[in-house]
Every structure is written in C-alpha cells, then in structure tokens.
Symmetry: C2
Subunit: 204 residues, 2 copies
DNA sequence: CGTATCCTCAAACGATCGTTTGATTCCCTG
DNA sequence: CAGGGAATCAAACGATCGTTTGAGGATACG
C-alpha cells in the first residue's frame, strides 16, 4: 500500500467538511489542502481538477447511502406485511445515520447545497447515481398507495424529499438540545419525519 | 427623480437573477453590472459592498412576501371559520405567486440558496426579517391544532417549510409540462402542497 | 547500484475577484 | 449663468483563485 490512498482519503474527508461548511465555490483548494495536511498540487494530481474532486466527494457518500437504503428496503421486503412507515424508515434512517457516521457528518448539507447550486452537470450526475434507488422506492410507494395517480405520487414523494432534505441539513429551527444525546435526537428526528411523511403521503 | 433609483433598481433586478442562477459567490460584480448595463463601481457606490447588495436583494422580496402573507392571514381571520387549509393557503400561495410576479421570478431559488449557504449573518438577517411572520402563522397553526405539543408543532411546521422550499425552488422532479400554462401549474402546485401539508400537520 | 515509477513539494502562472481611486459628466439650485 | 454635490466612468489595486511546472524524494525491481 502506497501513501497515495491515504492522501486521497485525507483530501476527500477534508473536502467534504469544507464543502459543507463553505460551499463548493467558496471552499478553496488552499484551505482544503491545508486542512488535509497535503500539498496544494495533490488535488490536481490525484483528482485532475477541483470539479472532479467534487464529484468524487459525492460519489463516495452516495454509494454508501444508496447501498444502505436498498439494503433496508430489501430487508423489509422479506416481511409478510410491509407498512408505509417501514418503507419511509428505509428511506429516511440511512440518510440520517449517514449524517452522523463514518466521518461523513456533513454530507447531507453538501447534498442540500448541491440541490441549491442547481448546476446541470451536477444534477445529471446525481440523477445517474441516484435514479435507480428512487425508482425502487417509488415502486414500493406505488404498491402501498394504489389509490394515488402516478402524478400525485411523484408530487408527494418530491415533497417528502424536500422535508427530509430540509430537516437533515440542519436548516430548520429545530436544534438538538444539549441535554439530548445525538443518537436520541436522530431517533426523534426520524420519528417526526416518518409520522409527518406517512400522513402526507396518505392524504385524501 | 434622479437616475440613481433606476440604477439601483437595475442592479437589484440583475443581481436577483444572477444570484439565483449562479449563486452568491459565483456571481461576480462584473457579470452583474454588465447585465444591468451599469458601471462596475456602481455597486459599491450605491450599496457599499457586495454583501450589502445581497442583503438588499433579500429585503426587497422578503418585504413583499411578508406583506402578502400577513395580508392573506388577516383576510382569512375575518371569516367565521378558519380551516387549516386556509392558513396553509395564506402561507403558501404568496410564496408561489412571488416566484412568478414582479420580475422576481427567481427569488425563491435565491432563498433556497441562502438556506443552503448556511451563513450565520444571513441567517440572522433572515430571522430578523422573517421571524415575526413565522410567529403569527405558528400561533394560528397552534390554535387549529390544539392537540399538538409545542415541540411537535415546531417540527411539523419546519417540515412543511422544507417541502415548500423544495417545491418552489424547482429542485424536484416535477417540471411544468409545455401544454400546461404557468398559472395552472402554479395552482396545481399549491393544491398539492396544501393537501400534503395539511395531512402531515394533522398526523396522529 | 541504476533506473523507472509514483508521489510530493515550493514556486510560479494567468485569470478573476471585490474594492478603491480620481477624473469627468450630469443635474439641481441659488 | 455659475457653482456644487451626486452619479458615472475607465483604470488600477492587492488579493486570491485553480492550475501547471519542474525539481526532488521515496520505493520497488532488475
């Protein structure tokens, strides 16, 4: 094992944190490499360009998130009866977990930023690395909500996504109180989200 | 009337569009002033700095949005019976209208960006210029949803805001079809949002 | 030992950024 | 008409950006 993998990982980790904190444009390679403890030129050497680095930051976490979501969905599909809450849990909890696990605590804020940046190439990238997961969940939602038209279903899933993104990226007014542990706060967040989203999806 | 008002307005309008399209950091004053047809130095002359310009862009539209929302809320408060859907309509429709009226069509995307930027001074500014409206709506929601604890209510309003922001800023998969007029699409968006949010707020 | 390959490093490149300057033009007022 | 503050303008300032360069270090294999 050479040390390049370590350097790449250090860059990815520092990039994720800095992108989340400052945004893609504002985060400079000099801040980034300084925080990672690597040379400035290392980014262009290992990733080719800053843009490619951004993509890799996304890819690393999106692959995690997708795998966990699909794993959770597969898990509940073995049950005799699946509820809407189960599917929502498989959709929501991996995302919430990701925002606290594996050093990738700030990824969801990065993701929310990416949505807001509204960059076409980035949207295309997200669509390519995200679409198949959404399709599987959409199919499951459709099965559990047979009364909804396809258009109505798309709308509601979209709104659920918005609520989820908003809650996870820490935009909202709700902040964790100091006397509540992170694990408990995450669990409360998941419960609020699932309850709200389930009711919204079931709306008459 | 001197021409400075016109210049300021031209800058504000161009800034709103450019901020929405490219973000606060990426939008340069040179692009901005070029699009507005004014001199580069005009921004610093009339606004002091780029940061102050950002604040003014927000203030101009937030004042509009706040006035319309409070006006709509006051309107329905005169009715003998107020429904949850009425209050949600007063909250949602002015925002949707703003994203198509008065040349400020891109403001909500700017607002979503501002949330994502996560800048503390900007958050403070938003809180100062936005908080009193949210408090009024929160009080009305609390009246109509007496079974909810205060914490639960805050959570759900937060999630409604997330869904609204997401839908309005055009992140989602739902795009207006070419055979649907903008007015109709806006109305459909409002109906979907209100139905979804009302059910979510009423969740058991 | 020699050499080939991968990696790291300090330094510099050109471009672009927000801001400032000082001169010039415009327009109102006395 | 003359004077003066407000507004506009081209130009330049220093800073910072992403990227490139070329030399040097580290490691593995003949």
């Amino acid at each position: 094992m050479n040390s390049s993998a370590s350097t790449k990982e250090r860059i990815l980790t520092a990039a994720e944190a800095l992108f989340a904190q400052r945004g893609f444009e504002a985060a400079s390679l000099r801040q980034l490499t300084s925080a990672a403890g690597v040379n400035l030129a290392a980014v262009n050497y290992h990733f080719g360009s800053k843009d490619h680095l951004v993509e890799q930051v996304f890819k690393r976490r999106l692959d995690q998130l997708n795998a966990r979501r699909l794993g959770a969905l597969k898990q509940i599909s073995t049950q005799p009866e699946t509820t809407l809450e189960d599917v929502l849990s498989a959709f929501i909890r991996p995302a919430l977990d990701l925002s606290h696990d594996g050093g990738g605590g700030l990824f969801m804020r990065v993701l929310a930023r990416a949505f807001a940046e509204h960059d076409d190439s980035l949207r295309k990238f997200l669509s390519e690395n995200y679409g198949h997961v959404m399709r599987q969940f959409t199919a499951e939602f459709a099965r559990l909500l047979p009364n909804l038209s396809k258009e109505e279903l798309y709308w509601r899933i979209d709104l659920v996504t918005g609520a989820l993104t908003h809650a996870m990226s820490g935009f909202g007014i709700i902040q964790r109180k100091s006397d509540v542990s992170e694990v408990i706060h995450r669990e409360q967040t998941a419960e609020h989200l699932i309850r709200f989203a389930a009711a919204g999806l079931r709306a008459p």
